[in-house]
Symmetry: C2
Subunit: 253 residues, 2 copies
């Protein structure tokens, strides 16, 4: 039997990196665009788990791109509480165009061991000269924004069960889209505390809800591997509608 990683490889839409696969959901890119993007991911920096990629208040002169592994955006409150505002998976830019804003207003940390590309501003500017990529970057930014809005709904108006289910559905669709889901399983390297920090819950309560989801036979979640046992039911139970991810093709279930 093939390893999970190799199986996932076999399910990819194309032979490309997550970044290219993702950006091609907008519109077909040219050969030159492909080369330019592949070049970006060429020499990433390897980082350990839970390392700062960049911190609030810094003024980076380069852009970060997650090539492999998971990272998270977060803000710290005066009392030390943490709110995660985004999970970054391969192909996600950490801070596209921060240079326009100047100073980071939040921090980014790796969650797992990861490969992160450091892209100088000049290179980004060159990429943006290409109309296909300029449009693709706009698309990626607008989708990030849409994800933030869905996140607000999750935290503001859904109860813990729905919110966790909704987040799982979203991450499943995103992972599937870049070829990193195998059937209804994918690597979800999040602790219960990290899930809580994302959804404004305590780890204790996250645990309660996960137990219930297991008892309901909705999911199996063990040592970083999530399997959604009944995707339709989870989708319904959490009010998930993937339209905000703006991926044309919905994943089959």
């Amino acid at each position: 039997m093939l390893s999970a990683a190799l199986q996932a490889e076999g399910h990819r839409r194309g032979p490309h990196s997550p970044l290219i696969t993702k950006l091609e959901t907008v519109s077909r890119l040219s050969e030159g665009d492909h080369e330019a993007l592949a070049d970006l991911c060429a020499d990433p920096r390897e980082m350990g788990a839970r390392r700062n990629v960049i911190r609030e208040g810094e003024r980076p002169d380069h852009v970060h791109l997650v090539v492999e592994g998971w990272a998270a955006r977060y803000k710290l409150l005066p009392d030390g509480a943490r709110q995660i505002t985004a999970f970054l998976i391969p192909g996600d830019f950490c801070d596209l165009h921060v240079t326009i804003l100047g100073e980071m207003d939040h921090s980014i940390t790796t969650l797992t061991r990861a490969k992160v590309a450091y892209i100088p501003r000049s290179k980004m500017d060159a990429l943006t000269e290409r109309p296909g990529l300029a449009k693709a970057f706009w698309w990626a930014t607008l989708v990030d924004e849409a994800v933030l809005r869905a996140w607000i709904v999750n935290v503001g108006r859904r109860d813990a069960f729905e919110a966790i289910g909704h987040l799982m559905c979203e991450l499943y669709v995103r992972m599937k889209n870049i070829g990193l889901a195998d059937g209804h399983s994918f690597e979800l390297p999040l602790t219960q505390e990290e899930l809580g920090d994302a959804l404004g819950l305590t780890p204790v309560h996250v645990n309660r809800v996960l137990q219930r989801m297991r008892a309901d036979e909705l999911i199996s979640f063990k040592s970083g591997l999530l399997t959604i046992l009944d995707y339709r039911r989870l989708e319904r139970a959490s009010g998930f509608n993937p339209n905000y991810l703006h991926i044309a093709e919905r994943p089959r279930s």
Copy 2:
């Protein structure tokens, strides 16, 4: 004594429309840029309060811009609950570059009587040809994103008192920035229900918190006019840091 509106006029940074005033916080714009922007706001559509500007699922071929009055982005849940994800004040685009995404994944409604400009896509494309405006639009989009992140923190990790205080501070700074605050007063035409829908609270609880804020002599809030009686204290009590709005000059207090 001058009317509130006229006084506010006197406090403006420049003689310009909110949109121009706002975009000039990034970088100085050219004469031509000014004219192009002024042209945008020239012939807005007048709308009543609580009218849909655009609804989830629609595929607009033009962009909307709030010229006067307030609007809000929101999503409805299956059970009818509403989550507001943004307040739009004069100078805010409702859906910059939706045309890239195709379909709206949320709805927008006016909150007050309002003037909304309808800008055809072709006109937007022409504007984006101007490097100064292209950069300004990127800036506006990135700030919108930063506001969404702050909103998540508000809903996820702050209690009701802090969250309401934080929102008031943010709206104050934004209104001040476009010349629509008079001292520490500004028009905040939101019902307690709308505040609740923004922060994931019930109107009952919003009311309790407002009463407490009044008792603490932090604010006065009556018939749509909010006065922050002690800005520093409100800022501290709610953990507000305006850095995420990326406005160079902090408002004096």
